[in-house]
């Protein structure tokens, strides 16, 4: 069972000892599921107010890989957004020792879903009387503070009351912006982006969705439900959204005017929320209908078709990058842009992609994907950015990265890694910033530069795509296998949960993996001094383990000064290879004894201090070398003595002869002296 499958499995009932209560007030009942309120990968269940038994709430239990739209959630927490379900509370809730999830509690829309496809179309009067006003008020409130809803669709519209009189929009904070929207609800700019990468978008996107919602409600079925995404996109471009979506429908003049204003393809000409609130009073003239994409004066042949729409041509080029590269090399694209679209500057930039000038490196120029990505971006700058099999709208990169990890999509992750590594996004952002004199708000240069740097050190711990994930998604909990199910969002929580795991596993668990490293590095300053040396040591080696222990010691001192017996037990297991590095038996025993003494305190810092491991290892190595020299010399000496019998024999012969000679001369002299004394004296 994969990680994602494990997370998607059924939630177990609340375990004894855990009340499953949020903020001490909202009790979440896991047994009462409300599937019609569920969003994306999240679950919706009933919730109760412990202080008000009459209140009815629902809770959305977020998947760890789900995006939480923080700014929108904060706005909803501050005060009630008119025309939208009320957010009452949000936060982590413990359902068992091993199951803590992020929960958002909302006021229950008591009347249920507004639209039921089985009941057929909704009357025009009902739409005008019940839907438009609350939706317009909601959007006006959100757009005023530069927020978007991005979840306006028929199945996210509810009756707030039992009498089914008051209509309100559903929540849109527990999934990525626009992630649950059917493709037809998306504008030309966002339509072809990955559903999880549609981005926060602009207020005009919400207004467009309102237009599609009205068509949906009036028609009783989702518009163009039987068409593919490509067909819908091409239809909108060719005929204009209004004409394409309302084809075959009989519309009253006021509905026609309303939809013409809302389904305008040019976002600048589209109605705003304020206009929608008082459209009857404010709009005097019949709005101009959208005509899809701008048209070129002539057509350009690409593949089997001819194109005069830059949007459609860009889309076709994304589908066939090799052919697109050929078109780029031939110079026809630059000529067409210059002559048919009359965009000389864009034409020059496109010609630079095929030529030898420009700011790109030779390697990048040779890269077909990079060149086609840049060309399609220049052709369709408002559309999604395409790179290989990745397609995302402005601001949707972070949620797409999260999605790639959620689905463990190797190809998608590879493409995203190449995207960061290539620096193409950074080039575009820098170019945009210098051209417009302002920075783009969807992703900052510094974030992109940081991600590029992390990808260049992708083999290192605390770098790579995992680091980019946590840098771009600051509110995403740690997705390390050890942390899943605990909704760990800070290093302190990480240490606390890891400690629990260590204690229960008696130190056998591994608190350090690429996710843990990326998460810790993204949340802690100055931790790179520990992570960078890890690249020089093989994972699982003694050196690597020692750095891990030092890292967690640092984290303990910084965020969790209390005792960590579980971590100490883990360190004991993990440091066994380090202890084995001590060659001296005596030193090893002494170090082990010191470790055991320090372990009782539960402090990794004290353990490292007591062991003084680097100095001890250096001394051990030095002494070992000295012992080797001594032993080598002794061995050579023993061998010399064992093989020196003949030499000793010769030496003994020489010395024996010398002794004999001395004795002989002594005896001769003695004989002479004694004889002389005896006979003469």
């Amino acid at each position: 069972m994969s990680l994602a499958e494990t997370l998607d499995s059924e939630i177990e009932p609340v375990a004894p000892g855990h009340n499953g209560v949020l903020r001490g007030r909202y009790r979440v009942d896991l047994s009462r599921r409300l599937d019609f309120l569920a969003s994306g990968e999240n679950l919706a269940v009933q919730a109760f107010d412990t202080q008000d038994s009459a209140a009815q709430y629902f809770a959305v239990i977020s998947n760890p890989y789900s995006v939480i739209r923080q700014r929108l959630a904060e706005r909803m927490s501050e005060s009630l957004v008119p025309g939208m379900v009320e957010l009452l509370a949000r936060g982590a809730v413990a359902f068992s020792d091993t199951d803590t999830r992020y929960v958002s509690v909302f006021e229950m829309p008591r009347g249920g879903l507004f639209f039921n496809a089985a009941e057929g179309p909704v009357a025009e009067k009902q739409i005008f009387d019940q839907v438009l006003t609350p939706v317009a008020q909601c959007l006006a409130a959100l757009h005023k503070v530069k927020l978007t809803h991005r979840g306006i669709r028929a199945d996210n519209l509810f009756f707030a009351d039992d009498a089914r009189l008051e209509v309100q929009l559903g929540e849109a904070i527990t999934t990525a912006p626009g992630a649950d929207q059917p493709m037809v609800y998306e504008t030309l700019e966002n339509a072809m982006a990955h559903p999880l990468a549609r981005g926060e978008g602009v207020p005009a996107d919400d207004l467009y969705a309102v237009g599609v919602l009205i068509v949906h409600l009036l028609g009783g079925v989702q518009p163009a439900a039987d068409m593919s995404s490509e067909e819908i996109f091409a239809g909108k471009i060719k005929h204009g959204s209004f004409a394409f979506l309302t084809e075959g429908m009989t519309l009253s003049q006021r509905v026609s005017d309303l939809l013409a204003g809302l389904l305008q393809d040019d976002p600048k000409a589209r109605w705003t929320a304020d206009m929608l609130v008082n459209w009857r009073e404010k709009i005097k003239d019949t709005p101009r209908r959208g005509r899809g994409d701008r048209r070129g004066f002539s057509k350009l042949a690409f593949g089997d078709e001819e194109y005069n729409s830059p949007h459609l041509l860009a889309q076709a080029m994304r589908a066939k990058p090799m052919a697109a590269m050929e078109l780029l090399k031939s110079g026809q694209l630059a000529k067409w842009v210059k002559s048919a679209l009359r965009e000389e500057e864009t034409a020059n930039k496109i010609s630079h992609l095929q030529g030898d000038s420009g700011g790109m490196s030779n390697r990048q120029k040779r890269n077909t994907t990079t060149a086609v990505a840049q060309a399609t971006y220049l052709l369709d700058p408002e559309g999604p950015f395409w790179f290989n099999n990745v397609s995302f709208s402005l601001g949707g990169l972070d949620s797409l990265l999260l999605w790639a990890f959620h689905k463990d999509d190797t190809e998608l992750k590879k493409s995203l890694a190449e995207l960061f590594e290539s620096g193409i996004l950074l080039n575009i952002v820098t170019e945009q910033a210098s051209a417009n004199g302002r920075r783009l708000d969807w992703i900052s240069e510094s974030e992109l530069f940081t991600c590029m740097e992390h990808m260049r050190r992708k083999k290192d711990a605390g770098a790579g795509l995992e680091r980019c994930l946590y840098e771009l998604n600051r509110h995403t909990p740690c997705l390390s296998p050890l942390m899943l199910g605990y909704h760990v969002r800070s290093v302190r929580e990480f240490i606390e949960v890891a400690e629990k795991k260590m204690v229960s596993a008696n130190g056998q668990a591994n608190p350090f993996d690429r996710h843990a490293a990326g998460f810790i590095a993204a949340k802690t300053k100055g931790i790179d001094q520990f992570l960078q040396p890890m690249s020089g040591a093989a994972p699982g080696s003694a050196d690597h383990t020692l750095i891990e222990v030092k890292l967690f010691a640092r984290l303990q001192s910084a965020v969790h000064p209390g005792p960590l017996p579980g971590f100490c037990r883990w360190a004991e297991e993990a440091l066994k290879p380090v202890f084995a590095k001590f060659k001296s038996r005596l030193r090893r025993e002494v170090i082990t004894q010191k470790f055991q003494s320090a372990k009782k305190i539960g402090s990794l810092i004290e353990i490292l201090k007591a062991m003084d491991i680097d100095r001890q290892l250096a001394a051990d190595a030095k002494e070992y070398h000295s012992a080797l020299a001594t032993a080598g010399q002794a061995e050579r000496m023993a061998a010399f003595l064992a093989n020196g019998t003949e030499q000793r024999r010769q030496a003994a012969a020489r010395y024996g002869a010398w002794i004999t000679s001395v004795l002989a001369i002594t005896s001769l002299v003695s004989s002479m002296v004694v004889s002389a004394l005896y006979f003469i004296g």
């Binding site: 038996r585 012992a627 012969a653 004989s671 004889s675």
Partner: protein, 164 residues
């Protein structure tokens, strides 16, 4: 080079022997003229050394030791001869005394014994000393192995090979 040095040493040794032989001949000649009984005792007493010279032993030290010991045994006999008047009658009388022969040849015998036994004793002492040193080194190595573990043995071999 080494051959030349050896040749030079052989020439020097031969020259030294010739000089010694010259003086021996001169002294012997003078002795035969002025003290024939003494020379008789001397020549007879020096028979073991003369035999050793004739056998041309390579061990010069041994020969010198034999000459010295032999001479040390003869000197008291010559002393007795001179005390009794130094004539052939006394010389023959002494030569007929078995103790005189024992004194003269005994010195040579002692020389032969010492030349054989002393190197053996010295070698035995050397061997004992070497074995004691080897045992001491083995003990030291054992202590190091006990302290540094089994890998130490392999590393020492590698270290010794690199050292060579």
């Amino acid at each position: 080079m080494a051959k030349e040095a050896r040749k030079t040493a052989e020439i020097d040794s031969s020259t030294g022997k010739n000089i010694a032989l010259f003086w021996v001949m001169v002294l012997s000649g003078l002795g035969l003229v002025f003290a024939p009984p003494t020379m008789l005792i001397l020549i007879v007493g020096m028979i073991p050394s003369l035999v050793a010279i004739l056998l041309k032993t390579e061990r010069t030290g041994t020969l010198a030791a034999m000459l010295a010991f032999n001479l040390a045994g003869i000197i008291p006999v010559i002393g007795i001869l001179w005390e009794r008047g130094q004539n052939f009658q006394e010389a023959f009388k002494l030569l007929s005394d078995v103790y005189m022969w024992l004194a003269m040849f005994g010195g040579a015998g002692i020389a032969v014994f010492l030349a054989w036994a002393v190197p053996i004793v010295v070698f035995a002492a050397y061997e004992l000393q070497a074995k004691a040193n080897i045992a001491k080194l083995e003990k030291q190595r054992g202590k190091l192995v006990e302290e540094w573990g089994g890998q130490f043995v392999t590393d020492v071999k590698e270290y010794s090979q690199v050292g060579r």
